[in-house]
Subunit: 205 residues, 2 copies
DNA sequence: GTCTATACGACGATAGAC
DNA sequence: GTCTATCGTCGTATAGAC
């Protein structure tokens, strides 16, 4: 077996892994952990169900990995926003829009998946604590942005972390609601950010 | 069989039904539809699992009834708020606190249950539409309160229904988050309502 | 109305051929 | 690496005794 072949195998393995993860996000969030069958996940990724166990030890293992993936992505997004060369308000606008970009359904599925993981008992407390910790990392990142916004004098006073929590609550709640209505309310970054901004007409007051 | 006995039987039936519904809310929301076994629901209500089918035709039937119950309760709550003799702001404050009262966990479980119902495929589209319609009824009720608040000049301008959606998104999102953190952020009705109020210091400006 | 026992199907996981 | 066939388990729903 040449090293060439070894590499090729590894590539195939990685690619299949990725396909299964993608498929799992879809299935788990649409059907929930228990109802998403292995065969749902594999057939959606166009593999046989037997092959699943060459890539993951169990259904539960895949579940937790997928949730980790989602949260890492979200943390990345926040970090990306933080590094832009713009005002805190601009960063928050960008972040708000990015959270709601792409397919609405996709965003909402990912969010529900995290919720389900936290509030069901498929996962042990240790795993749940890890998830909470990752989410908190994202909240802290947003808190930092808000803090600079306060120093710029554009944002209301108050504990930045608490304000970040309020912001995320609003953004995600809205995401959920929008995904179900026939004609979704056009997302208004303005309105989502209203609670953060000091006043609408600043110095002219 | 005397009429006296007939009545007694009916009472027992009703009571058992109620016990099963209560138990089901707990189990469904904690474990999800698929993972909540009939035996979980019955044993939690201290009945044998066989007896379940004397009260409900299937697990799915109970599921949808329970969700209806939750939404009817919520609509009642909004109507109650609307009928008070107070300003719109007072009504919204009362409603916000009522939503977060009782055990936090209980409130959050009920909310998650509705979400799960909407975003999983245990329910057919018809049932989902009914749920959305009920939820919308509650949103409309809140929208009405907001409208009077605008006429009083205390609330920001904008489509009342849209503002109601934002309010609920924030309130429920916060509920979810609070239930998972070790030391929940003390609910601040003030901050939840900030997005609705016109300015913090009104006429003195 | 309440219970226990059981039929029946579904699904996670494994074995073994290719 | 990929597939099909199969085992073992678990859970819904039913049957039938009390």
């Amino acid at each position: 077996m040449s090293p060439r072949n070894k590499e090729q195998f590894k590539e195939i393995r990685d690619q299949r892994q990725q396909e299964l993860r993608r498929s799992a996000i879809q299935m788990f969030s649409q059907k929930g952990f228990a109802s998403a069958k292995i065969s749902d996940i594999t057939s959606n990724a166009q593999l046989s169900h037997g092959l699943f166990y060459h890539y993951f030890a169990s259904k539960e293992e895949l579940y937790i990995e997928v949730i980790r993936d989602i949260l890492y992505d979200f943390i990345d997004l926040v970090e990306q926003a933080a590094e832009f060369e713009m005002t805190a308000l601009g960063k928050m606008e960008w972040l708000t829009e990015a959270t709601h970009s792409g397919s609405i359904k996709e965003g909402v599925y990912r969010h529900i998946l995290v919720l389900q993981a936290l509030y069901s008992d498929h996962l042990n407390e240790l795993a749940k604590r890890e998830i909470v910790a990752l989410y908190k990392e994202a909240v802290d990142g947003i808190g930092s942005i808000i803090k600079t916004g306060q120093q710029e004098g554009l944002f209301v006073e108050g504990d930045p972390e608490e304000l970040a929590t309020y912001h995320l609550s609003l953004a995600h709640g809205l995401l959920l609601w929008n995904a179900r209505t026939e004609k979704p309310v056009q997302l208004s970054t303005d309105k989502v950010l209203r609670q953060l901004k000091k006043t609408e007409n600043g110095g002219t007051c």
